[in-house]
Symmetry: C2
Subunit: 576 residues, 2 copies
């Protein structure tokens, strides 16, 4: 039931198609055809010096909020969710394969206005974008009346069914949410369930299992949470979020949490009807150690490495505090261990929060121990109702955060694991709140500490935009970034920009080494043979060794421009 | 029993005396006589541009830690306590009137070494310097064996008696302490009472009242406190300090406190023998308001204005946190009100801290209500033992701190109340941790906010020193500063440095106005008549309007140099 394409949309598609071939040809982003209808004078081309020539960009006239990105299973296409639009883009050069409009109808909009919301708010903001086999499950806020659709992945205008987005997608585009679909087809979503956003829930629906949710209006279950991410791991579905702390009385504080539920949970009977009986949560600690540790309380983003069962998290201070950010890594085993330990429990409001032994340690959703878990006893249910919060705090892999910086807030994180000459390296990509991406080398050992390798500028200084999504494609070593008015693609391996042996080895870039045979800076794959491939990542690049954060008042980046080594080929963008 | 003057000390005094006449003459600080024995090549004179010509300085060869400053009653002399030395200086030009050595004997030093302390630590650091009539009561750490002496104010080498410094002066020069002497001659001291510093106490001794202390090794009374200041007000003696919070379970935190005891307290009988029966404490709140307030938890310095019954406090974040400072002002009435309210009480470790009604509100030490307070009932004593902490928090005069700044820590504060053309102004002087002094105009009204008027540089950029004491003399409008190797005097009224009407009025300096008759920038006193004296302090000086904090990594001051208006007369310092 897609809406009929408007005149504008037709022009839009047409102009994009005009651009496509050029894009494919040059591998330099879509070529701008001056005679094409999409040229806009008020979009002046950015001067050479201010641009990174190796960045590809996609824009669509009038389309904003490129906040949802995902890949098709074959990893040939980038699926994009923007306000009122869905797109399929070629991974090669971000040229348009298909665009589909998805606006809310006038009646819904009218209802939205009548409830005092603005034109800006009463739009369809895509907030769920999940690939499920050959289908795309996607939800939008639809002017505060969230809806979800199932579409053919290869033809986004082909809609199979449409269901309510309630408890699957937020009403308010500003509310955070997360969702995933399991192999069994169940949708796990964590979002606000109502217009006002006062009723948050972790909700399971669709698939073969009965729908379940977290207890309603119970601040001990969820206390004004901001949902960050979710992962399907083993018998559990994990949710990462931050919420107002309940376990102490020292003024309002936000804590970061890891929460989990059993995928085979069927809810309680009489007690906890239609509610999780396996929901637990634990605090995640990321702090600067010291006599009085300095806490980075608020989780902003995560990245999970399944092979290593390791979770990277970015944490910041509260918005009302001085800006500061840190990166901490957690082993899944550490999280599991805390969930196996004692609970934190408060008998009544006059008593203190005290540890309470875990009646069911090493709980594996009943699949391993104590036979079938379906026959829950009353005892279990009563426990399940009051024992939610773990007493122990999940500690990171190392006590000191992998990376810390004052006067900046990180918003998104992506991690790449790179085979260097001698070892594997973790490269952490951090989106800053002023629209740049930090490339940080994870500490190789306690002594060495981290390295800030580079700060990637996506925009000219005065045209910076907040980053809304960050997605890494390991197979292609590429980073995809969604911002307000465009999608960008950043190739991560750019060794050929280092022209001399000194520049190449001195960059300390795990992706690159100096090939003594080819006499050029290459990736490991490009090198003739490893023995002739020179790389030395024993210490940080000099330029960034004692790096200092940008002052609070201005967002000057560290300006480790690569431009001095750039070949100034000019990347053009379709400025429709 | 002063020690015999050593050869070195003789030379010292002699060289100072040589300098004196010149100093008196020139009103430019002691003149340097090149032939005098105190000229030292390794103390090069600072080049003009780097110095404030209007600053007077006093140095004494080999003497460091000018950490204690006070005035004689007639306010003609500055009494100075430095390591192993006491000095009397002329307020006029900081020339030496008398110097007295006060070193610890070899036996005491030996004992200090034998306990593993260093040569640096095993010295006599003056930590108490109190004028008591025509006597000077002063205590020193004396190589971790604190002692106190009573001396003739007009002749510091004349020692009347010497008593133990225990519970009056810290053992360790690094430990904070505070002390005062009442008109009745009682000494109230708050300090660590032992070698290790693990036994802190608020202790009364001397005078006519029985000696009393806070309960020993009881963290609910004092929990690793850092004592900041003390004041004798009405029936009470007030102590201001910071300590580890006990009233919550959200990790170790430091809170700032106002504590008080009754001056007529005589201690308990059986219960609370030799212990305060009237000790109470309350939390002081200084925070940046918001949904989640940002707390400046740690009190660093205070300044009390008796006429206004108002206390200025400077608060910072914890040393392990990002540096940030704020200035909050509290009315004594607000503090009294909290002391009249409910207590915070924890029945046992398993119960929460809960409010408990105050059995004795508006307690005035028994002098006002319920007749003579001497006959305490058992009930009172039991209450006195468990009800120490007030439930309410003392809130500042206005919810938003008077002044806030990130990336800097203020260490000392002094306030001057200045009569401007139209109203009274509060000028706040803030010592920074990098050796400059901020001159801030207290907000005139909620809307206007504060003004940073000036940053006074005491040293050339690369020679900065931590400020150890800050003392204001209202009668002369002068600021006295003690640092590691010198004492400085800063005249606060420097109107004649503003040469033009624009500069004069534009400086927005409450001390200064443009005299239309004299055609010069004058103080109110110097002006011919008020009607002809121009001053406009409606908004902040432009140069500081949108001031930004110095970046974290370097301590560049705001550099509001006055030098452009300076007459570059060169101030000379005795570099003995």
């Amino acid at each position: 039931m897609g809406h009929p394409l408007t005149q504008h949309a037709l022009l839009l598609l047409q102009c994009m198609l005009v651009l496509r071939p050029g894009g494919v040809a040059g591998r330099r982003g879509p070529v701008l055809l001056p005679e094409s209808p999409c040229y806009k004078a008020e979009h002046p081309l950015v001067p050479h010096s201010e641009m990174e020539p190796w960045i590809f960009r996609f824009k669509a006239e009038g389309t904003v909020d490129f906040s949802q990105l995902t890949f098709d299973p074959g990893q040939n296409e980038l699926i994009v969710g923007a306000r009122n639009h869905l797109f399929r883009l070629s991974l090669e050069d971000l040229t348009l394969i298909q665009g589909a409009e998805w606006r809310c109808d006038e009646f819904t909009k009218g209802a939205c206005f009548s409830r005092g919301k603005s034109e800006e708010e009463c739009q369809n903001y895509i907030r769920v974008l999940l690939v499920n086999g050959n289908r795309l499950f996607t939800c939008g806020t639809n002017a505060f009346t969230p809806i979800c659709t199932n579409r053919t992945l290869t033809n986004l205008t082909e809609i199979h069914d449409q269901i309510s987005g309630m408890a699957r997608c937020p009403y308010n585009p500003r509310h955070n949410s997360t969702a995933l679909i399991t192999s069994g087809g169940e949708l796990y979503a964590a979002t606000a369930m109502d217009f006002s956003g006062r009723d948050p829930a972790i909700y399971r629906s669709l698939g073969g299992m009965p729908p379940l949710r977290t207890a309603q209006y119970n601040s001990k279950w969820l206390n004004e949470p901001n949902f960050v991410s979710s992962y399907d791991i083993g018998n559990f579905t994990y949710f990462f979020f931050r919420e107002n702390a309940v376990e102490h009385d020292c003024g309002r504080t936000v804590f970061s949490r890891a929460g989990r539920v059993c995928k085979n949970d069927i809810g309680g009977r009489f007690l906890l009807e239609d509610t999780w009986t396996t929901f637990m949560k634990a605090r995640l600690n990321c702090s600067r150690p010291g006599e009085i540790p300095f806490n980075y309380n608020e989780l902003q983003g995560t990245f999970y490495l399944p092979e290593l069962e390791m979770l990277y998290g970015i944490f910041t201070t509260n918005v009302n505090s001085i800006a500061a950010s840190a990166v901490c890594a957690f082993n899944l085993s550490a999280i599991t261990q805390v969930f196996s330990g004692p609970f934190k429990f408060q008998e009544n409001s006059r008593s203190a929060w005290l540890p309470f032994p875990n009646p069911n340690p090493d709980f594996q959703c009943g699949t391993i121990d104590y036979g079938s878990y379906v026959n829950l006893t009353e005892r279990n249910l009563q426990d399940a109702q009051k024992f939610l919060l773990m007493h122990e705090v999940v500690q990171p892999v190392v006590p000191v955060p992998y990376f810390m910086e004052d006067n900046v807030r990180f918003t998104h994180v992506a991690v790449d694991v790179v085979q260097g000459k001698d070892q594997l390296f973790h490269i952490i990509y951090l989106a800053t709140d002023y629209g740049t991406i930090r490339k940080v080398l994870s500490p190789l050992n306690q002594s060495m500490g981290n390295c800030l390798l580079e700060e990637i500028e996506l925009f000219p200084p005065r045209k910076r935009q907040h980053i809304r999504s960050l997605l890494i494609l390991h197979s292609r070593s590429e980073l995809y970034v969604g911002v307000r008015d465009q999608v960008l693609k950043i190739p991560l391996k750019r060794c050929d920009y280092h022209k001399t042996r000194e520049a190449c080895v001195g960059a300390r870039d795990p992706y690159c080494g100096w090939d003594l045979v080819l006499k050029k800076c290459t990736t490991l794959e490009e090198s003739v043979r490893m023995s002739q491939w020179e790389q030395s990542i024993t210490k940080c690049p000099v330029s960034t060794a004692e790096h200092t954060p940008p002052p609070t008042h201005t967002h000057t980046p560290l300006a480790l421009y690569l431009t001095h080594t750039h070949t100034h080929t000019h990347a053009q963008t379709c400025t429709c």
